[in-house]
């Protein structure tokens, strides 16, 4: 006999299954918030209150935690539609239903994730208005028109999400499917604008421009087009794809570990592969976007750049290197495990290349993690012959770091290509030539990247930054855009010698996927702290000084403890969202299993669309 669900459970289901309920909830929150906004507007003008503290935890810490959770959730909410839409497009083009089902199930997550994100956004707004009224009044004065646009975009996004989610089954064939794909595209377009508008507020704080007289719209527009706005937009867009992919991978990893049937193992193994693939797909161009952002920061204000890279935040970049290094290693490790466990017989064939790639990655990571200057005592500095270590100091500079990061991207790309080609034999007549061209492109690019890196030591910084580093980046991009289509063409006519076997990965593959997701989340928290701390004691850099008791930037250890706590909380919230979103499916699954309804869906795992075998059953 089934137990009746409790009130909380019913509420959770209501939110999970009905975006309308979510919208009503958010709207109620907005109505409740209205008086607070009014009070804050009053206090911003006449009242002398600039700050209010929160006892115990402190207003800054509270804002930090809530803002971080909101941003991570927002990244997830904006990343998942990209991920889902890409999967839907792949499913539509290839005719493989499992991609479509994967996309649908991840879209299902959006409703509950959307409400949670909005909830944290609302809480953040209340806290900011209460704790930082003067700053909020200043920002509202400049950005009020964009607040309105932001609200309008939310309405459009919600309406599109309704149609996208509720219309999935109704628009599954023919022209209506194309319309559904257009809806998915629009969902991402609105989501993109929802992301870039708050970005303008945050980037204005870091790189403000002087605002001349003019209409409210003209002033808001001028403030929006600040020097770091687009670099941050692009960086966040790519990072959201990475986050969405790796979280999908982590979810699959956990479900894989607890899978009980071979079908479940097959399915979650495949889902983990898709998640990791999309994560890596985004990860490869991410360092380029980061480089562009840092370049713009230097160009905007050299002092800010120095604070980040050479000042009190310089050790942060060593931690960043460690996290990115682990992420690259984790992603490659997962690929390598895929080659050796999913493609029987390939273990021996690929052992040597894998070993070579592992050594290159570790060496590159070692160089990337080398600090430029070491904090040393006077005696230590004398023994060392200066603050820079005679040997390690050489690896600590940007020229070396740019070189190794490009090499790591190349190696990861080659891991992916190797995985793609494993178990297949070329049959095209021009295969030899294509392989020779690809090999030559890769080797020459690798050599030129290293040569430019070494040459970079002997030219002025401006030459290195403007020409050498950009050339390295362009070279790596060239390798990708040359080898990817060539490989795709080769594989079109290739003969499959060994079928890929799903569900045979060892348990450590699941943990590798979880590790990758944790690294991405930690990286986002770390760089959020970096961006915020680069403003040092300014709310708006050089314009509005932070004169609160929290105007200092805490040391890295304290900050890292908060980042770890935020990461853990975010993981728990995401786990909750997944649990809520799949609650109904589980109930249906167990119910269907008992009644043997035989509709085909009863056999599906709780999440997403089953495996290839299941596809055939449907």
């Amino acid at each position: 006999m089934m137990q009746r669900p409790g009130m909380i459970e019913r509420l959770i289901r209501l939110f999970a299954e009905s975006p309308a309920a979510v919208a009503a909830f958010v709207a109620t929150l907005g109505v409740l918030a209205a008086p607070v906004v009014g009070l804050a507007a009053d206090s911003g003008g006449a009242s002398a209150v600039a700050y209010r503290d929160v006892p115990g935890i402190g207003s800054r810490n509270l804002v930090w935690i809530v803002a971080q959770l909101h941003l991570l959730l927002a990244g997830f909410v904006l990343g998942v539609p990209i991920f889902a839409w890409l999967c839907e497009v792949v499913g539509w083009k290839s005719g493989e239903k499992r991609y479509d089902k994967l996309a649908k199930e991840f879209t299902k997550l959006l409703s509950s994730a959307y409400s949670t994100t909005a909830l944290f956004g609302g809480i953040l707004l209340f806290i900011l208005i209460g704790a930082y009224p003067k700053l909020m009044a200043y920002l509202s004065d400049i950005f009020f028109p964009s607040f309105m646009v932001y609200c309008a975009l939310f309405l459009l996004e919600t309406a599109t999400l309704y149609m996208y989610w509720y219309g999935w089954d109704a628009m599954s064939e023919g022209r209506s499917k194309v319309f559904h794909l257009v809806l998915g595209f629009l969902l991402n377009v609105f989501a993109f604008f929802i992301m870039i508008i708050p970005n303008s507020w945050a980037t204005f704080q870091a790189s403000p421009v002087v605002i001349a007289e003019g209409s409210d719209m003209a002033r808001a527009w001028a403030a929006t087009w600040n020097p770091t706005w687009w670099p941050v937009n692009i960086h966040r867009l790519i990072a959201n794809v990475v986050l969405g992919g790796y979280i999908c991978g982590a979810y699959a990893g956990i479900r894989y570990l607890s899978a009980r049937t071979p079908e479940e193992r097959e399915h979650y193994d495949w889902m983990g592969y898709v998640g990791n693939f999309i994560g890596v797909f985004g990860l490869l161009p991410l360092p380029f976007a980061g480089y562009w952002l840092m370049r713009e920061i230097y160009q905007y204000n050299q002092q800010m750049g120095i604070t980040l890279m050479g000042g009190f935040l310089s050790w942060l970049f060593i931690l960043q290197a460690m996290l990115i290094g682990v992420l690259f290693l984790g992603s490659n490790y997962y690929f390598w495990m895929g080659i050796t466990h999913r493609i029987p017989g390939s273990e021996l064939r690929y052992r040597k290349p894998i070993l070579a790639m592992l050594i290159i990655l570790l060496l590159c990571l070692g160089v990337w993690m080398t600090p430029h200057s070491l904090v040393a005592s006077l005696e230590e500095a004398r023994k060392m012959g200066g603050t820079h270590h005679p040997l390690l100091g050489v690896f600590g500079v940007m020229s070396a770091k740019m070189t190794v990061s490009n090499l790591m991207i190349l190696v990861t790309f080659m891991s992916f290509i190797m995985y793609w080609r494993a178990g297949k034999e070329d049959t095209a007549t021009w295969a030899k030539l294509a392989n020779a061209v690809m090999g030559a492109v890769l080797v020459i690019a690798g050599i030129v990247v290293v040569v430019l890196g070494v040459w970079g030591y002997f030219v002025p910084a401006i030459v290195r930054i403007n020409y050498f580093s950009t050339s390295q980046v362009l070279l790596v991009i060239f390798v990708m855009v040359t080898i990817t289509p060539l490989t795709a063409l080769l594989l079109k006519s290739a003969k499959t010698t060994t079928e890929m076997v799903w569900g045979k990965m060892p348990p450590r593959a699941g943990y590798a996927l979880v590790l990758n997701a944790i690294m991405v989340i930690l990286l986002m928290t770390l760089m959020g702290y970096a961006r915020s701390s680069s403003r040092v004691h300014w709310h708006v850099y050089g314009v509005m000084r932070d004169s609160s008791q929290y105007a200092f930037s805490p040391a890295l250890g304290y900050a890292a403890a908060l980042m770890a706590a935020n990461t853990f909380m975010f993981c728990m919230i995401v786990a909750f969202i997944f649990w809520v979103a799949t609650m109904g499916d589980k109930a249906k699954h167990s119910h269907g299993g008992k009644e043997k309804s035989g509709d085909g869906h009863g056999a599906l795992p709780a999440m997403a669309g089953g495996s290839q075998t299941l596809d055939k059953q449907i």
């Binding site: 200043y138 004065d141 400049i142 403000p208 421009v209 002087v210 605002i211 001349a212 007289e213 003019g214 990893g253 956990i254 570990l257 607890s258 160009q299 905007y300 204000n301 050299q302 002092q303 604070t307 000042g311 009190f312 050790w315 060593i318 931690l319 460690m322 996290l323 904090v375 401006i462 699941g510 943990y511 979880v514 590790l515 944790i518 930690l522 701390s533 040092v536 004691h537 050089g542 314009v543 000084r545 932070d546 004169s547 105007a551 200092f552 930037s553 805490p554 040391a555 890295l556 250890g557 304290y558 900050a559 890292a560 403890a561 980042m563 770890a564 990461t567 853990f568 993981c571 786990a575």
Partner: protein, 207 residues
């Protein structure tokens, strides 16, 4: 016990809990939580192992106008305003720079009179040519330079005079602004400048 030691102990206990979970708990979800705890604990310990440097804000300076005795005092305050509240350095540089978005101000105090500088700061639209390249009334090209005496920058007359003193001193010119021109708190403004705050000149310490 220092904060770092406390945080290290917390990090170690988190790692220990994770290890215990992995050793004794069979539920896969809890085991993953244990694994995550170990990763996060290790991350915290690494971050605590590197040099701990906090960034402390410089002291805020509040300058009493009564203490300003010489034109050089004014120029010194003007320099601070130039790089902080005045936001001049957001666009202008002193000396050529690739990052300059607006004219280089090196030597500007020698090229322009104090009256012209004052007018440029408070009426930036004054000498901008009109656009006749269309039918109807000519339009104004919007000045990129903001009104310095209006919000959001809102420098007072005292502050603007101090900035002019700085620009003249920086150009090697004799400072033509005199402290006697400063408005004392409570006195009526002598020039038609909409001052935002005319009492004390509060500036953040320039970096």
């Amino acid at each position: 016990m220092s904060e770092v030691v406390k945080l290290q102990l917390i990090g170690l206990s988190v790692i220990g809990s994770g290890v215990l979970i992995l050793l004794f708990i069979r539920s896969q979800f809890l085991r993953v939580i244990g694994f995550v705890a170990i990763v996060l604990g290790l991350f915290s310990l690494v971050a605590l192992a590197v040099p701990q440097m906090a960034s402390l804000p410089p002291a805020e300076e509040s300058i009493d106008i009564a203490s300003i005795k010489t034109p050089a005092d004014m120029a010194s305050i003007g320099q601070k305003i130039f790089f902080s509240k005045g936001q001049c350095a957001l666009c202008h540089t002193i000396g050529p720079s690739e990052s300059a978005r607006c004219p280089d101000l090196k030597g500007i105090g020698a090229k322009l009179s104090r009256e012209f500088i004052f007018e440029s700061l408070t009426q930036p639209q004054a000498y901008i040519y009109l656009d006749y390249r269309h039918e109807g009334l000519p339009k104004e090209y919007p000045a990129r330079m903001p009104y310095i005496n209006k919000n959001p920058i809102g420098l007072s007359k005292n502050e603007i005079l101090s900035v002019i003193a700085f620009l003249q001193q920086m150009s090697g010119e004799p400072i033509s602004v005199n402290p006697s021109e400063l408005e004392m708190p409570g006195s009526a403004p002598a020039a038609p400048v909409k001052s935002a705050q005319a009492e004390t000149v509060t500036v953040a310490q320039a970096k």
